[in-house]
């Protein structure tokens, strides 16, 4: 019986191709906008969370904006590790310089820091070693460069022991970092050099005051404790001015970001769902027309013994089939569009998730049933003699 109803529904959909297609168009557009928009937000979300996650999650970034004429010193920052919850601290300063090896000269981003930076930022070495505290304390002119810098300057990465010059100073290369995959998938193109904090201060002609540093905790659970301890310390240290410094927790950034993208997802998904709803109203409209047009057919069917339920199922299947076919065409188009976005768009990426596909299918079926049930009920409830008497 169901099989017969499906066959009839298919016949009736195909006997009115243009009308059926226009009805489906509402569903197609709805499904495409739902799937594509959510996929784009998903893509953006994973880009952002990846880049935040690559920064690591169990450290704080501390910045001192106003030191009240009494700057934080390197030893003060290093002494913070005596607090129980604090694992390591790494002061850092950033600068730009020119890096030279033989005839090759490139501009480079300089990081002045200490040995702890390596652990806190989760770096990994391809060759050699990272900075040590002795390098910092003794102002040794040593540098760790990233793989890009090694390739650009030397054309190879096994360059530990080589000497290069940064802003005219000679440095010995003690280590090369591993090639880093950045969040968007391509290799970082920046040249980077890590040198002892004290050496950078010297090159820049600045004192050893610390304006920014990283603090890591024992584990992710003690992050809140570290944050409050560091905040309390700085509050006291900087004469009770809470605007003089900022403590940024990377997991807080992550949470904020993901709540923003989640809101985006629901908002765009909601808009798309509304367009699906409009598609559903289109289905109901056409089904009502179809029921009226086929009044006589319904009368004949009832006269020869079709029960209410039989008629109801027949029209419901027809509505459901229109919405499901529309949904499938929409999904196919969505896959195509998502594929195109990922291969043509540079700045946008989209990721199609099974969840949104299931939601689209489920929602389309729900709409087919919800908007199909009234016309189907109307058909099923016709009185046979009146339906037989009906003339178009």
């Amino acid at each position: 019986m169901i099989l017969q109803s499906v066959k009839m529904a298919v016949d009736s959909i195909f006997s009115n191709k243009l009308r059926s297609f226009l009805t489906m168009l509402g569903m197609i557009i709805g499904v495409v906008s739902l799937v594509v928009l959510v996929s784009i937000v998903n893509g953006a979300t994973s880009d952002v969370t990846d880049s935040i996650a690559s920064m690591g999650t169990n450290y704080l970034m501390v910045q001192v904006q106003d030191d009240k004429g009494n700057p934080l010193t390197l030893s003060e920052v290093q002494a913070l590790t005596e607090k129980d919850s604090v694992w390591e601290t790494a002061p850092y300063a950033q600068g730009n310089g020119t890096i030279k090896y033989e005839r090759n000269s490139e501009s480079v981003t300089l990081y002045g820091t200490t040995g702890a930076y390596y652990d806190i930022r989760g770096l990994s070495l391809a060759r050699g070693r990272f900075l040590k505290n002795t390098d910092v304390n003794q102002n040794t002119f040593v540098a760790v460069i990233n793989a890009t810098a090694a390739e650009e300057l030397f054309g190879r990465t096994n360059v530990t022991g080589e000497t290069l010059s940064i802003d005219g100073y000679h440095f010995t290369v003690i280590g090369v970092l591993e090639e880093e995959e950045s969040a968007v998938g391509n290799v970082s193109e920046r040249l980077e050099a890590y040198i002892p904090y004290t050496v950078l201060s010297k090159i820049n002609g600045r004192s050893r005051r610390v304006e920014s540093f990283y603090v890591s905790s024992e584990d992710e659970n003690s992050m809140d404790l570290v944050e409050s301890e560091i905040t309390a310390y700085l509050y006291e240290r900087l004469s009770g001015d809470e605007d003089a410094f900022s403590v940024i927790n990377s997991s807080t950034i992550m949470e904020t970001m993901s709540s923003v993208t989640n809101t985006m997802k629901w908002m765009l998904g909601g808009i798309a769902a509304i367009s699906l709803l409009v598609g559903g109203i289109g289905i109901m409209n056409i089904m009502l027309v179809s029921v009226t047009e086929r009044t006589r057919e319904i009368g004949i069917r009832k006269a020869i013994g079709a029960r209410k339920q039989t008629i109801l199922i027949q029209f419901l299947i027809e509505a459901l089939l229109v919405s499901i076919i529309g949904c499938l065409i929409g999904l196919l188009l969505s896959v195509l569009i998502v594929f195109m976005i990922n291969h043509i768009g540079d700045s946008v990426s989209a990721s199609l998730s099974g969840d949104v596909v299931m939601i689209a299918v489920g929602f389309s079926m729900l709409i087919g049933v919800v908007f199909g049930i009234y016309p189907a009920y109307k058909a099923a409830d016709m009185r046979p003699i009146e339906a037989l008497r009906y003339t178009n």
Partner: protein
Amino acid sequence: MIKIENLCKTYEVGGEIVKALDYATLQIDDGEFVSIIGPSGSGKSTLMNMIGCLDVADEGAYYLDGAAIEEYSDDQLAGIRNDKIGFVFQNFNLLSKLTAWENVELPLIYQRVAKKEREDRVSDALEQVKLLERKSHKPMELSGGQQQRVAIARALVTNPSIILADEPTGNLDTKTGEEIMELFHALHAKGNTIVLITHDEHVADQAERKIRILDGKVQEVEL
């Protein structure tokens, strides 16, 4: 067997109350060939709707094979129509999108008859109306007489208690009409109960028994 006792039905048409059936009483036995005759507006269509279980009366009783029809729900009535009544209409009332075969098969599908048995019975019914070679044609591709024969095959495929024909020759030319009447005679000869509703005396005369209806009242005329 049909047993109708004091059946009444009134309609309201444009504020005016029309008594379509006025205490109608009649009985039709199994295997009979009965015609119900009356001018238009006499109530014969209403009577046909009652006999065909398409409508229920306001008053009175109708027993079809001993079952009291007025107590049945809409779905039960659909079941009764499916099992016990074969309709033949003036304008054939075939489903235009289905082939002759599918039209005849439809009541069996509603009865949930298995596929194999359906095939046997549909082919047997089409054989009886001599249209088996036209089984794949749609109604539009058949002549009026052929369409009516498909409708008759659809009516008899379920082995109903009665075949209820409403002006079956009304839309056909005289010659084709005669062919259809011959078909009814042949079916009657095989033991089917046939109730023929018509306004045409010539057609009505061919039945074993004539029931005349006028202003909703039944007057029996024996032949």
